[in-house]
Amino acid sequence: MCNCKDKNIYLPYMMQVEKVTVEAPGVKTLRLKFKNEEEGNAFEFRAGQFAEYSAIGDGECTFCIASPSTRKGYVECTFRQAGRVTSSLAKLEEGDTMGFRGPFGNYFPMEEWKGKNLLFIAGGIALPPMRSVIWTALDEREKYGDVTIVYGAKTVADLVYKHELKEWEDREDVTLITTVDPGGETPDWKGKVGFVPTVVGESPINAENTVAIVCGPPVMIKFTFPVLEKLGFDKKNIYTTLENRMKCGVGKCGRCNVGKMYVCKDGPVFSAVDLAELPDDF
């Protein structure tokens, strides 16, 4: 059982902050590069996996890796400044050092999605986990059918990745539908106004040969699943990624346990079939 040469699973890689992007009020993206080149070269992940990002001295936070697995040499995370650790991460500048542990958890079965249409549905700060999958798909665009992205936020200002939204909007091989909550629109807003589940229900979406990937706050997921099923989606073609509170990321600390599953080990990616089997404890 014991091999004392095993690596310390709690020891983070040391990363250098290569680029800081302000996405929205209180939301930043950090691009990180491995300080040790060998570690960077050996690092691989799959879209959907998460990591533990640490502001050394303040603690660790769990986010999905927001950059696509098709682009090597760096990882990105996008987060909203909310507590002690994210406030500390938000203070980092280009050239600073921080910690990174990962990749952890399972990933989206993109191999199985070849030849299928992809429908991405994201709400608010939940676009970052999906961005990794979106860009991974777009980097290998020929493998998939139609790509549709439905993205909503509270207000126009809260939409993240604004430059990338523009890029997706301009692409002929992507259909982008953006929406903001009622009251969140600006006079020159050209997107939709309404909550994500409603907008999905009203959009011309064909469920045939389509996989839906949904990510957002629990309440958005709860109301979007029935809409998708009404549109004709089979539960096995609906995926989401759960964002439970985590500490270790490797199935030890116990807090992401839901029923017999550990979100960090068995997830974070679950199909609607998997979710239906979980007790209502997430």
Partner: protein, 336 residues
């Protein structure tokens, strides 16, 4: 497995040889009204007049607070210092109860599925467990209901059963053989019948296989709310439990240097699962109590071929509002 015998007067001699061969012996010691595990220098310090220590022995393998790594910031650079396996002492855990020895199964499982926890494994590898059969039990003990027993050898490297003039020595593992080899001449073969007459009687109060099956479908039961109405959420049950392994990770910064620590935590605390957004999957004490019992008796058995309880009864003894897990499990067992 060898079964040997050692005379009463020779046990202290053997103990001294063991003490000399390792860094520390950890054994039960009386401190005023409680008996706790502590490093022991002399055989005479070891407590004998007790049923169970207040806290379990798990902290020898999984300390209450443990350093994961330390760091030093130099300008914009940070240097980390990894955990050093050589810093872990070679220890003998002396005179634990069979229920404490059995707790290594769920602990081994959680610290080794997929990712290996090198801190736990190093401590485990450097610790020899000498258990002692129970000659007394109290109303909180229920080891026999969860697959254990007063003379159960599972998890021990050696199991001692005290007789009137000495001890039966069951050598369970190679690690145990090494301790016996330290004083080989003190041991003789034991052939004088079984040890049962020296063991405490611990009545079985429920059938754990049936209980596991029943609990599997009880997520939405009202029993969790009924049982937990008086729960204060203090976490004492998890603190004294030999199998509870949930932990928190915290920083301990001191200027430009510091350390990252893991500390015991409990699913009984509201903050355990609280999201940054304010959403809490387990927002009531009833849902947290359900998690405690279902994790131990339904989720762990489904995933790890082990139970998350050894029947030591510590949680019931420590509970400030007298929630008795044995009674609660029995009442679940009786639900039709």
């Amino acid at each position: 497995m060898d079964t040997l015998y050692i005379k009463k007067s020779d046990i202290a001699v053997w103990w001294a040889a063991i003490k000399g061969a390792c860094d520390h012996v950890v054994a039960p010691v009386r401190k005023d009204r409680v008996v706790e595990f502590a490093r022991v220098e002399n055989y005479e310090e070891i407590a004998t007049d007790y049923v169970q220590t207040t806290r379990s022995a798990k902290e020898v393998l999984f300390p209450r607070t443990e350093r994961l790594f330390s760091y030093q910031k130099n300008g914009r650079d940070i240097e980390v210092k990894d955990f050093d396996p050589q810093s872990v002492p070679v220890q003998v855990l002396w005179q634990v109860r069979p229920c404490d020895a059995a707790s290594v199964f769920p602990l081994d499982a959680v610290f080794n599925w997929d990712y290996k926890d090198v801190m736990y494994n190093t401590r485990r590898e450097r610790t020899t467990i000498v258990a002692v059969s129970c000659s007394t039990a109290d109303e909180y003990c229920f080891c026999t209901s969860v697959g254990g027993g007063a003379g159960d050898t599972r998890g021990s490297d050696i199991l001692l059963t005290y007789t009137t003039d000495g001890a039966i020595v069951e050598v369970v593992t190679e690690r145990g053989e090494k301790l016996v080899a330290l004083s080989q001449n003190l041991f003789t073969a034991y052939t004088a019948g079984d040890k049962d007459s020296y063991l405490a009687s611990v009545p079985q109060v429920f059938d754990v296989e049936k209980l596991k099956e029943k609990m599997h479908g009880m997520f939405d039961s009202t029993v969790w709310k009924e049982q937990s109405e008086r729960c204060l959420g203090c976490g004492a049950c998890a603190y004294v439990c030999p199998t509870c392994s949930c932990f928190d990770i915290q920083e301990n910064p001191k200027g430009s240097c510091g350390e990252r620590l893991r500390c015991w935590d409990s699913c009984g605390f509201a903050q355990f699962t609280l999201h940054t957004s304010g959403h809490n999957p387990r927002s009531t004490q009833a849902s947290r109590w359900r998690q405690r019992l279902m994790h131990k008796f339904s989720y762990i058995p489904q995933r790890q071929d082990s139970l998350g309880c050894t029947g030591c009864g510590r949680c019931s003894r420590a509970c400030p509002v007298d929630m008795n897990i044995k009674e609660h499990l029995s009442s679940i067992d009786k639900i039709q």
